[in-house]
């Protein structure tokens, strides 16, 4: 074997390396043609704006006059003298914690109920998934109506069973829980992902656990949860990122419940009631595109980038790990 290889290498060294080189160059060119548009798009619509955001965050810029370098002024203002950014950050943090928890637990709960159905799995799954496709602006409007304190069906229901309904979107203490309910209603996507993972858990493991005398609760904790933990982690990180960019539902709910004439037209009702729905992205939008404090908005964006990059990094690492497992196994 070795001798034939050697003889071939000796026989025509220049010719074979030339074609090999030519092949490699051609292959590189092919790859370039395939990914060039995406690369260009990535650079223009992600690479450039990421760097430019950092630059703008050190300037005062109103879109009309040239950006004026102000050092760390925007950041200092953000952390010291502007109270509403604190409110916005608090609201978003609240959502990151509560909304993530409720969304994942609810999706896991509904998915496990569906996974145990003997028949009609497809139908129930469809009914639970459909709401997640509803346009967020329309779904929010529907919920503002459903949870209307005076004539909304939800309070009418609650009243019928003797519970005092509350003011929901008109009460600063209830507006975020109401938004959380809206998100849970639309969590069908995550439910499908978890359902697929649940149905993938090997049945033998349940049988083995049952033989060992584990009841349904212990089987759930010791068999189900460990088997689907990568998917649960995906759900947690995914929900956290979703909560970090929570915008449409918050701005529409706040304005619509307060009776704003035109969501796109004024800032008076944004965050209503009492700034309880003022999320971080909403305040970034108002600062940048209503008040035209573009530099300040950029500084807010940098902070948002740092936080969400952290979450994204966890997810990407997880993804890479599962990929290696797939390739290895």
């Amino acid at each position: 074997m070795t001798s034939t290889l050697d003889s071939r290498a000796v026989a025509s060294p220049s010719a074979s390396t030339r074609t090999r080189k030519g092949n490699a160059a051609r292959r590189r060119r092919t790859v370039f043609y395939f990914i060039a548009p995406a690369m260009l798009g990535f650079l223009i619509f992600f690479g450039y704006p990421l760097i430019a955001t950092l630059y703008y965050s050190f300037t005062r810029y109103d879109l009309i006059n040239a950006p004026e370098f102000v050092g760390f002024d925007n950041y200092i203002r953000m952390f010291t003298s502007e109270p509403l950014v604190g409110t916005a950050a608090y609201n978003t943090l609240w959502l990151v914690i509560v909304l993530t928890f409720c969304r994942v637990v609810f999706a896991l709960g509904t998915a496990s109920i569906i996974s145990r159905l003997k028949s009609g799995v497809g139908l129930v799954r469809t009914l639970c998934y459909l709401p997640s496709l509803a346009p967020p602006a329309a779904a929010t409007l529907a919920f503002v109506f459903l949870f209307n304190p005076e004539y909304g069906p939800v309070n009418a229901f609650l009243g019928a069973v003797g519970i005092d309904g509350g003011l929901w979107f008109n009460d600063p203490a209830m507006s975020k829980p109401a938004l959380t309910l809206l998100v849970m209603w639309g969590s069908g996507e995550l439910m499908i992902i978890i359902l697929a993972a649940l149905l993938d858990v090997p049945q033998e493991q349940y049988e083995a656990a049952e033989l060992d005398g584990a009841g349904p609760v212990r089987r759930f904790w010791h068999v189900t949860i460990p088997s689907i933990s990568p998917v649960l982690l995906f759900g947690v990180v995914n929900s956290m990122i979703f909560a970090l960019q929570f915008f449409t539902q918050a701005i529409v709910a706040g304005s619509a419940a307060a009776g704003a004439a035109d969501v796109a037209g004024n800032t008076r009702f944004i965050g209503a009631p009492q700034n309880s729905t003022l999320t971080y992205p909403v305040w970034l939008y108002v600062q940048g595109f209503r008040y035209f404090n573009m530099g300040y908005a950029a500084a807010m964006a940098v902070l948002l980038f740092i936080v969400s990059a952290g979450f994204t990094w966890i997810l990407v690492r997880q993804l890479r790990k599962s990929q290696h497992q797939e390739e290895g196994g």
Binding site: F46, I113, L133, F145
Partner: protein
């Protein structure tokens, strides 16, 4: 005890009819008991949509009372919303945005996903991870310079800033298509190449026909995402009513017509309708696409 262990359809005929009826009832009750949670869940999830449609056909007075069922059915409400607001124009804008963006996303993402799944090159892993990162980053992070860019180009107030990026780079479409392409065996492409196809021809003639379900799912997600998009249109067309898509128009509709909740819900129903229709026709693709994003890393 022995009769219980026997398959149900071989129940002895000599059994008195009363017992048989009771057993049928037991079976039904058992079915209801095991399925009640599932049924309840399905109903609860559907209730909000049902209420939207029921309120949409009420009179305006009745929509302000806490009645669930319409006293009279005012189907003309659906026509009235078209008279109150230029919904057809908004619908047209939405269609324009969603369909062009979807075409753009497919044109740009199919080759990129092909390269990521079927070719080998240096930096492939990095490119994939960058795509995932771009997919996860909140749009607000990059929005200040992008807005600035589109203002300088003079395209704000139109749908162009929303559509054009899709023709270059749509992270989610690239990601999803890659996941689908990975499931297609390389052998088919190798065979095509042995038959004299180059990579481009292999993609067009072999991969795309085989990946049709995946491409359809990606197209639907892209269409749906842009149809539902609110932040982008608010940013670029917020000041220009003529360019509004439905998502933006609906949020302002209620304000323009004060407390006419029946009309607002009629408009809400109208914007949900295309999504529901799309879903009914392509349910399987949706479900497959969603599981692909989460499970098959």
């Amino acid at each position: 005890m022995t009769t219980l262990a026997e398959p149900r359809h071989t129940a002895p005929a000599s059994e008195p009819p009363k017992v048989r009826v009771r057993r049928q009832w037991d079976k039904k009750l058992y079915w209801i008991a095991t399925h009640s949670l599932g049924i309840a869940m399905g109903v609860i999830f559907m209730l909000p949509i049902l209420f939207v449609f029921l309120t949409a056909v009420m009179s305006s007075d009745q929509a302000l009372s806490s009645n669930f069922w319409p006293k009279e059915w005012h189907f003309e409400n659906f026509i009235e919303v078209f008279e109150k607001a230029p919904l057809l124009q908004y619908f047209g804008n939405s269609m324009l945005y969603s369909s062009l963006a979807t075409i753009g996303a497919l044109v740009s993402a199919i080759p990129a996903a092909y390269a990521l799944s079927k070719l080998k090159f240096r930096g492939q892993n990095l490119f994939f991870m960058l795509t995932v990162a771009a997919m996860m980053l909140p749009p607000q992070v990059t929005v200040v310079p992008l807005y600035d860019l589109w203002v300088r180009l003079g395209f704000t107030g139109t749908l162009i800033p929303l559509i054009v990026p899709y023709f270059f780079f749509d992270a989610f479409s690239i990601f999803l298509l890659r996941q689908f392409f990975l499931t297609i065996p390389k052998d088919y492409l190798e065979a095509a190449k042995i038959d004299g196809c180059n990579e481009f021809q292999a993609m067009i003639k072999v991969l795309i026909p085989m990946a049709k379900p995946g491409i359809a799912a990606t197209a639907m997600f892209c269409f749906l995402f842009t149809w539902n998009d609110y932040f982008g249109p608010l940013l670029y067309t917020g000041e220009t009513r003529d360019s509004w898509p439905l998502s933006l128009a609906i949020a302002s509709f209620r304000g323009m017509h004060h407390v006419e909740w029946n009309l607002t819900m009629a408009a809400t129903a109208l914007i949900m309708l295309p999504v529901i229709v799309l879903f009914v026709f392509a349910q399987k693709s949706f479900v497959k696409g969603v599981t692909f994003t989460g499970v098959k890393g």
